[in-house]
Structure formats: C-alpha cells, structure tokens
C-alpha cells in the first residue's frame, strides 16, 4: 500500500540510473543513515558500541570487499583474514612511524599497500579457477599470518609481538586508543563504511563492475567480446584487497585497539567473511551488510539470550548451545533462500508492492 512505485515516472536518464530508483527506498536509506548518525550515538552504551555496532561496520566493509571479488568478479578467495591483517599492521606501522599522519590517510595508505599485495596473490587467478584458486589464496593466509609473527618489523621489534594502536586525534578529537569515546569511533567507522559502500555500489554499476560480471559469468565469452581477463581479474583483486585492508585498519584502530597477528587475523576471520558474503548474498552490496549483521550479531544475541529470559545455565552449556543454534540458523537460512538474505529482502519488497492484494 505504502510501498508502491505507481506514478513515479522517470523523465531523465539520471533518474533512471539512480541507485535507489524508488522514492520510498531513497527515503528509507536516508532515514537509516539519519538514525545511525543522529540517534544511535546518543542511545547506545559502551557494550553496544564495542561489541555490536563497530564490529558490524568493520565486517560490513570486509564483506563488501570480498563480495566485489567473489560475488561480482567470481574469484574465490580465502585470504581475507590475512589481507585485513596486512591492513591492520600497515596502519600500525604508518601511525607509529609518522606520528603526524592523518588517520584517514593512514587508512587509505594501508588499503593501498594491501591492494598491492592482493594484486600479487591475484596473479594465480589468471591460470586457475574455482576451488583451486581458493587453495592458492589460502597460501596468502598462511604466508602473511606466518610473517606477522616471524617478521619483527611488523610489530616494531617489541618482544611480545602484539601491536597497540597509538592515540591519534583528528580535528582535536581523540579517535583511536581505548581512551577515545566509542561513539566517536563508531561515527568514524560509519562514515568510512558509508562512503566506501557508495563507491562500491557505483563501481559495480560502472564499466569496471560490468566487466567483472562478464568475467564471472563466462570468461571466454567476455574475452571474445573484448574484456581483458588479466586487467579485469587483477583489478578485482586489487580493489577487493583495498577494501579488506581498510577494514583491517579499522578493525585494529577502531575496534580491537591491540592485536596479536596470528590470532586476530587468522583463517577463521577469512571463513567468517566468506560466510557473511554467502549468507548475505553473492553479488549484492546490501547482502554484504545483511551477512555481516547476521554473522556478528547473532552470536551476541544468543550469548545474552538465556540471561535475558532469566534462564540460569552453566557457562559451557550456554556456549555449546550458542554454537549449535548458530550453525542451525546458517543452515536454515541457506535452505530457505540459497541466494542469501539479500534475495529474501528482494522477495519481501516484491510482495510488499502488491500487498494487500496479491495476485
């Protein structure tokens, strides 16, 4: 009833090409952003910021990164955790080596450095595909993970191998280090994610994105109609790694504050981000957000659920149940909609259009 596009005529090409062609969608997204910027910082508490909101934003960023590579360009990668780790270590190195460097610039440079390394690990994709490619990107995960503990340069030669975010300010406001207000960290993360999500959405709608999709759908055909597989695939790896690198820098500077290379950026992070993309929806920016929300928030809800309902339960029992229910939910959602939460959302929208008189 409310959600209907009848009467919305497009009179210009710009209007037709808009990201959200339906007015209601545009208002909805604007409203979400307004709430995220103006309401959330005042109502959420520390726990909510540090356990729910900031990790959600960081992993949305990483999921967008992987989705560009996997969902749009069709190249399977299991190195996300390592690329995030590289971003984190590079941001640490940049911030400690150049204390006056602007934080955002450090994030972008960390992303660039990760993009270069991602490009290198993308080279095998020119010869191998699918699961075989996944295995070769797994090498990135193990090699970089090993380097984070072995090469002392990464952690400034301190004996424990742990990196700590140094306190850095922007416009006179403290942003990194535990002394910073979590609301500030949240706002920085939100802004970065909003800008980068918009950029990603536009990349995939542009020539570059279309060339990725052409390669994904059939690389020989794409080559015949004039796309160069090498440039296209390597570009996908570079852009994706850039996003993952920035996400890693955000994870260190805005969320964790201190990290140990091998543990914080291990293979389980790679898998988690992969699950986010698969559950959220391959080839969908919205899906990246939904998937990140699912994977980061559901365990938090499940951990807190027994207490909220006043059920006394042994700690280990609770954890085991949490893992079981979480696994069950993943299976459930994939059975209900194999194309991910984004597809569910799309179906819901279609049903809403004809509600309350479906035909």
């Amino acid at each position: 009833m409310l959600y209907r596009e009848a009467g919305q005529f497009k009179t210009s090409y710009a209007g037709d090409q808009a990201i959200f062609p339906i007015i209601q969608d545009r208002w909805f997204v604007l409203a979400v952003l307004l709430v995220a910027y103006l309401v959330v910082p005042f109502v959420a508490n520390d726990y909510f910021f540090e356990v729910v909101l900031i990790p959600f934003l960081v992993f949305s960023m990483a999921a967008i990164g992987l989705n560009l590579l996997l969902g749009y360009a069709g190249q399977l990668s299991l190195g996300t955790g390592a690329f995030m780790g590289l971003g984190a270590f590079m941001s640490y190195k940049l911030l400690t080596t150049f204390p006056d460097l602007n934080l955002i610039v450090a994030f972008l440079l960390a992303g660039l450095a990760t993009a270069v390394v991602g490009l290198l690990f993308g080279i095998p994709s020119l010869r191998i595909k699918g699961f075989y490619l996944a295995v070769s990107t797994l090498a990135a995960q193990f090699l970089l993970g090993w380097m984070f503990t072995k090469v002392e340069w990464f952690y400034n030669y301190n004996p424990s191998g742990t990196i700590l975010t140094p306190p850095r300010e922007m416009f006179g406001v403290l942003i990194t280090s535990p002394k910073a207000d979590p609301a500030v960290k949240y706002l920085v993360a939100l802004t970065l994610v909003a800008v980068f999500a918009l950029a990603a959405k536009n990349i995939v709608r542009s020539r570059i994105g279309r060339s990725w999709m052409a390669i994904r759908d059939m690389d020989i055909a794409a080559e015949i109609i004039g796309f160069r597989p090498m440039q296209t695939k390597l570009m996908a790896f570079a852009v994706s790694s850039f996003y993952c690198g920035v996400a890693g820098a955000m994870l260190l500077c805005l969320d964790l504050d201190a990290a140990e290379g091998a543990e914080a950026f291990g293979i389980n992070i790679s898998f988690n981000v992969l699950f986010m993309v698969i559950i959220g929806g391959l080839g969908s920016i919205l899906g990246s957000f939904l998937g990140a929300a699912f994977i980061t928030l559901v365990p938090v809800v499940l951990t807190n659920a027994p207490q909220m309902f006043g059920i006394a339960m042994a700690t280990d029992m609770q954890k085991h149940l949490e893992v079981m229910i979480f696994g069950g939910l993943i299976v459930y959602f994939l059975i209900v909609e194999p194309h991910g939460l984004a597809r569910l959302w799309q179906i819901a929208k279609e049903k809403l259009r004809i509600w309350p008189f479906p035909y």
């Binding site: 726990y47 201190a258 543990e263 291990g266 928030l297 809800v301 700690t315 209900v336 909609e337």
Partner: protein, 439 residues
C-alpha cells in the same frame, strides 16, 4: 510462507536485541567479580579447573564469613574460549555490574590482558594478571592499574636458570649447555624469550627457541628438532591442549622427562594424565603447593561441598590449576579487605581496590589466618613494584600426583628489574604516558 518465517525470525531477533539494552536491576551492596572463563574450546582442560577454583573460593567466603567484612561477593561467568575478542566482549559486558562495577578483572589469558591493559585506567578497573600478562607491568610507576604478583614470566625464566644451575652444580657449569625453549607462538609464549636470551649471554649456555603454533596439537616437527639437537634442558611455555601433546611427544622421542620443565602454566593435572605413564618425571614450575592438605581446602570442602569429597574431586578440587585459582581469588579478596581497612567496610570501587592492591601486604601471619600457611609465600606490593618477584617451586609428576621437589628457588631481581624498567619506559613513550613518581 518464506516471508512469514522471515518476519517471525526477525521479530524474535528484535525482542532479543531490545533486552540487551535493558539495565540490570540494583541489589544490596555487593562486591562484584567478573569471571572471564573458558570451559569450552581447545583451552578448556586448563580453563575448567581455574573457573571452578574461583567459584568455590568466593562461594566459601560467602558461606563461611558472609562475604568480605559483611559485603557479599557476587560473580558472573562469561565464556571467552581463551579468545581475545570474546574476552574483551565479556569484559565490556561485565565491567558495569555490581554496586560499583567490576572490583578487578582476572583475565586468565595473556592475550586478553594485553587488550585490557589500555582500558583499565579509562574504566577504572584494576587488572590482576597473576603470574601472566605483560611482564613490564611490574613497573607500577607506568602501569598504575596492572598487577602481576606474586612473580612474572621473566622472573620465572631467571628462576628456571637458577634451578638448572643448582642441578648442574653451579652457575659456572651452565657454560656450553644447550637449553631449548618450546613456546606457544603468541604474546604469552614469547614472554620468557628476552630473559632467557639475556641470561644466555651472561652464563654462556646455548639457547634454541622453538615456537608451537596455536592451538598446539601438531608438534611433531618441534620434537624432531629436539631429538636432533639433544638439549640438556627443555623449558616450555605452553597452555591448554599444547601441554599434554608436548609431554606425549617428548616421551615419544625419549627425551629424559626430569630435564623437561614446564612453566607454571604447563604443570597441571590435565597436562600429564592424558600422556599416561610416559609423563612420569615431568617437571614444572609452581607458585604454590599442589594437593588439599591446607586449611583453606578443609573450609572449601566443608562449606561448598558439605564434605562430599567425591563431588569435590569431580570439580578438580586440589588440582594444580584449581589451587592456582584459589590463590588468585584470595589475592583479589584480600585486596578488597585491604581497601576496606582504609575506606570503610562497604562495597569498594575499582579505584579503592586499586589502592588495596598497591598496599597489599600478605604476611606469613595473615596467610596462616587464611588457612594458607606454607601454601604460598608472603607478598608485599608497593607503588613501584607490582610483581614482588617472589621465588618459585619446582614440582614433579610421579605418575599419580604432583610433588614439590625443590626449595623456594630465588629469582634474579638484579637482572630482571632493569629489563622491566626499560620495557615499561618504552611502553610509556609509545603511548604518551607520564610515569608517576613513586618516591
């Protein structure tokens, strides 16, 4: 159909999420201890006895004395799986509970301690990382909120070298000896490396560092190296499942067990029992006696288990790590008691407990009153010294139980303290901290 299911599940999630934001109800004055435990995952063999020890000691305090000077002790467990991220989540969840928030936090993980160290001064929650965590935190002028008594990894490593020297017949005999350090490849495992390195230069033994990656189930390569190298002594910094695997592997390569010494986190019952007979003779460092022969154990048995020894045994009663947790819980409650002596007999805030930790003075007499005479050594903390650098024991597994096989072995304060001060001042410089004046 699909949509209906989806809406229902979303509704469920929303209801659940709204509950997270709800504030907890206030109760009578209580001293709240957050408990970051790990009863699941690859570190559960170490985590379960620790969690039980904390729970039992506080329960006993409440039942026997009605809490600490009449203030009831409350606690809540939160599962971390020894994972730093979950540990920080748990900390954030629990730090605000109780009358004045968390009394102090025992992370029981070096990784989680590293994460919480910068948060402690901000949240005003002191950290008691008993014999683990960042060794440099022993310098109280920089690390005002962090306490790691009764002794640290670096002191422990120096005591281990003292022990080796004792066994070999003097420090001069160390020259030319081969010592290997098998360590968990993490901030925790690496802690002892710098000290062992410095001492290697000083005494002329040859040090080999062998890292074992998390979680430590695969150590064949490491022990193959040891078989080739044939070191005179092997020191190990392991945790969780890594320990039992190492003991098995050491036996498999016929390494003499009585020259294989774990640190105090690598010498629990769960570490040696799975290896069976092979583990006989394995040694480890200790901060306290194993077993149940102290008065504090009688009290726990009586007040927590109503004298039911079987039930107590099921809860790891008297195991090494259980006793470790009892010791740690006692340090926490005594810090509160010390603070109460100054600020009055009510629930203490984190700041007051920090004062209590800093002025903690556990004399032999006080330990006797607590039923722990002989169980551990007296501890005295000051503004500059958060470690107290106490001596350590060496215990040995005889196939049935752990036995103490050494006297209290002194640490090398003269070597370790300057290293601590150097590391602390580097930390202070990196993080813009001005060290306070400890007079």
């Amino acid at each position: 159909m699909k949509i209906k299911k989806l809406v229902l599940s979303l509704l469920g999630a929303t209801v659940a999420a709204s509950g997270i934001l709800a504030a907890p109800a206030m109760a009578a004055e209580e001293q709240f201890f957050p408990m970051l435990v790990y009863r699941t995952g690859p570190y559960a063999p170490s985590g379960i006895p620790v969690a039980n020890g904390f729970r039992d000691y506080y329960t006993m305090l409440n039942k026997r004395d009605g809490g600490i000077n009449g203030v009831m002790v409350t606690f809540e467990e939160c599962e971390t799986q020894y994972n730093t991220k979950l540990g920080v989540e748990c900390y954030e969840k629990l730090k605000g509970k109780g009358t004045h928030g968390a009394t102090l936090v025992n992370p029981f993980s070096t990784g989680i301690t590293y994460q919480l160290i910068p948060k402690a001064p901000v949240d005003k929650v002191p950290i008691l990382s008993m014999g683990y965590g960042r060794t440099a935190a022993a310098d109280g002028s920089v690390f005002q909120w962090i306490y790691n008594f009764p002794t640290t990894y670096w002191s422990q490593a120096s005591a281990f070298i003292n022990y080796v020297a004792q066994q070999e017949g003097g420090h001069d005999k160390l020259r030319g000896k081969k010592i290997a350090h098998v360590y968990h490849n993490s901030a925790y495992g690496k802690e002892a490396n710098p000290t062992l390195g410095v001492l290697a230069e000083k005494y002329g033994y040859k040090l080999t560092l062998l890292a074992v990656d998390h979680p430590g189930q695969e150590q064949k390569a490491t022990w193959l190296q040891i078989r080739k190298l044939r070191p005179d002594w092997v020191f190990m910094s392991g945790w969780g499942v890594m320990n039992q695997v190492a003991v098995k592997e050491a036996a498999a390569v016929n390494y003499p067990m009585d020259r294989f010494v774990g640190n105090w986190w690598s010498g629990s019952d769960a570490d040696v029992i799975p290896a069976g007979k092979a583990s006989k003779g394995y040694k480890s460092a200790a901060l306290h006696h194993p077993g149940t022969k102290f008065r504090v154990h009688d009290d726990i048995l009586q007040y927590v288990y109503n004298g039911d020894t079987e039930e107590a045994k099921k809860n790891n009663f008297g195991e090494v790590l259980y006793n470790r947790a009892v010791l740690n819980a006692m340090f926490g409650s005594e810090a509160v008691r010390t603070a109460q002596a100054k600020f009055g007999k009510k629930a203490m805030t984190g700041e007051q407990v920090r004062w209590g930790l800093e002025n903690l003075n556990l004399t032999e007499q006080r330990l006797d009153e607590l039923g722990m005479n002989g169980f551990t050594r007296p501890v005295k903390i000051s503004c500059s010294d958060h470690e107290s650098g106490g001596p350590i024991l060496i215990q040995q597994w005889d196939g049935q139980k752990w036995n103490i096989v050494s006297d209290w072995i002194p640490t090398m304060r003269d070597v370790v303290r300057p290293m601590i001060e150097k590391a602390a001042s580097e930390y202070a410089k990196e993080n813009n901290i001005t060290p306070r004046n400890c007079g």
